[in-house]
């Protein structure tokens, strides 16, 4: 297992119990989403994965070794586990984009020539190469998020943790970030772990979903499994994706014979509608498989 959390609890100094006895496993190469409302403990959990926070009780294992918190072990961990913060202004501290991206690799002690190459490559990957010499305050929020991502990618991590990667972004920037993440997972085999409350985004991204509520792990499974359980989703003050909701209404109110695993994305919805309409000729099949 890549990560294993054992009876993890975290209590902040003001007495808030942010995580309450969470036990879970994250597998390598997976695309994982932590879903929960604001204050459900997502960020606190993520902060344990690269040693920003120490558990109050319980244990964190990375590659079957318990985390150690001395500076050398932490540096080693952080080389492998990159963390992209929710507010890029927290992360972008350097006066130019390239300086910021170079910060991580320089801390890893890489030679300057290599750092330049890695930084340029990371900026190209996120599509921000032309902004290399610009200061961050010239950029839009979406661009800042991509630069923050580049700053972490430049350290060539095996695991990428992102806290609300699409919050406050416009639709286009959101889909750009999502596609970028999917590409990173596919091409570079980076394990992705992200926290979000954007239920419409989750099915597009995640293979594995964990639902947190009030610091507890409520449920885990594939998005299809979890969103099929509308009771559960509502009990943690979330909602189903709009598309699933539509099919739920069609099933309940209009008694259409809909598969109890509601479609969550547009392509799934398309298939289900075509099935309901009895519309399955050869051409359609081909077109679907092409996409």
């Amino acid at each position: 297992m890549l990560f294993r959390l054992e009876h993890l609890s975290h209590c902040y100094s003001d007495g808030t119990l942010a995580l309450n006895d969470v036990t879970l496993d994250f597998a390598k190469g997976e695309r994982i989403a932590l879903l929960g409302t604001n204050g459900s403990g997502k960020t606190t959990l993520l902060h344990h994965l690269n040693g920003i926070l120490k558990p109050t009780s319980g244990r964190v294992y990375f590659e079957d070794e318990p985390l150690k918190y001395d500076s050398k072990s932490l540096l080693d961990l952080r080389r492998k586990v990159g963390f992209v913060f929710q507010d890029p202004n927290d992360q972008l501290f350097a006066p130019t984009v390239k300086q910021d991206v170079a910060f991580g690799p320089l801390n890893l002690g890489q030679p300057v020539e290599q750092v330049k190459r890695v930084a340029d490559e990371a900026l190209r990957t996120v599509g921000m190469a032309e902004y290399a010499e610009k200061p961050p305050h010239f950029l839009s929020l979406g661009q800042k998020k991509r630069v923050a991502l580049a700053g972490v990618l430049a350290m060539q991590p095996q695991v990428l943790i992102m806290d609300e990667p699409t919050s406050n972004l416009d639709p286009r920037a959101t889909s750009e970030i999502l596609h970028l993440l999917l590409r990173l997972n596919k091409e570079y085999k980076i394990t992705l772990i992200l926290a979000t409350h954007d239920v419409d985004m989750v099915p597009l991204f995640a293979k594995k979903l964990y639902i947190l509520s009030k610091g507890k792990l409520v449920s885990e499974g594939s998005p299809e499994e979890l969103f099929a359980n509308a009771e559960l989703i509502r009990s943690v003050s979330l909602r189903s994706p709009r598309i699933a909701h539509l099919f739920e209404v069609l099933k309940k109110e209009d008694n259409l014979p809909i598969n109890p695993r509601f479609p969550l994305t547009i392509s799934e919805a398309r298939k289900e509608i075509l099935r309901l309409l009895g519309y399955r000729n050869e051409n359609e099949e081909k077109e679907t498989s092409n996409r």
Partner: protein, 265 residues
């Protein structure tokens, strides 16, 4: 908050002007030599030529819009002009030039006073324009990196790096808070203004503390160990350019020496 906008605009030009890619060392060297010559020159001729040089460099080489340059120069010019008139009136003791009646008193204006006022005006103008040349063509980042090479203590370098970045973050925060207060009538009246202002400052202070904490966490997550390592990636100064500037400086210094005893009236 026009001063915030003006400095943000200067910053923007520093990154976008036509000379932004040329070596910052060269630009800094030129600007500093011109500054020194300008303030030390005993005659107005050299500062005038420095003013013209910087202006030509800014307008036709760096392609800074003339309007913006004039907007920058305008206020200092007024202040300096007033000061220099006062100098012309009150300084000087040789050869009376003319007498004026002011506030029922007779004032004698001396010839050397006028020369001094005139020279001072252009010295300031020369110094100002050479510094505008620096700030409008050279990004802050590059200046900080040069200071680093010049072995300025690390504490100063690292804090200026962070300050430069977060000035823009916090001026945005401040502007947003100011608008939010203003919309709820926080600035309608002298006393309310005072109270809103103090709350804004107090809040801003807390925000900076929180930001510091969060930035520190984020830096740690990327392996920060107490040293901010910076990528040296600057265009190298060309030897020809440096030599040309040196020659130009020497020529101006000689001109200053030769025109030392010039009189305006």
């Amino acid at each position: 908050m026009s001063h915030v906008k003006l400095s943000a605009e200067i910053d923007r030009y520093a990154y976008t002007n036509a000379l932004s890619k040329s070596s910052p060392t060269t630009k800094l060297f030129l600007a500093l030599s011109l500054l020194l010559l300008s303030v030390m020159s005993p005659s107005p001729i050299v500062p005038i030529s420095i003013f013209l040089t910087s202006t030509v460099l800014l307008l036709s080489f760096a392609k800074i819009p003339c309007r913006f340059y004039l907007r920058l120069l305008w206020y200092p010019i007024i202040i300096v002009a007033v000061t220099c008139v006062i100098i012309a009136f009150f300084f000087g003791y040789q050869e009376p030039f003319t007498e004026v009646n002011l506030l029922g008193l007779k004032w004698t204006v001396f010839k050397d006073g006028i020369t001094l006022g005139f020279t001072t005006f252009f010295r300031v103008l020369g110094a100002l324009s050479s510094q505008f040349f620096l700030v409008l063509t050279t990004p802050m980042t590059s200046i900080i990196l040069i200071l680093r090479k010049a072995r300025v203590p690390k504490v100063l370098i690292e804090t200026s790096l962070l300050i430069y970045r977060y000035i823009f973050v916090f001026s945005e925060v401040m502007e947003t808070m100011h608008i939010a207060q203003d919309l709820r009538l926080g600035y309608s009246g002298w006393l309310k203004k005072l109270r809103s202002m103090s709350m804004l400052i107090g809040n801003l202070f807390i925000r900076t503390l929180e930001q510091g904490e969060r930035t520190f966490t984020a830096m740690n997550a990327r392996g920060y160990d107490g040293n901010i390592r910076v990528l040296e990636d600057q265009p190298k100064p060309s030897k020809t350019a440096l030599a040309a500037i040196t020659l130009f400086t020497v020529a101006l210094a000689i001109a200053a020496y030769l025109t030392m005893n010039i009189r305006i009236v």
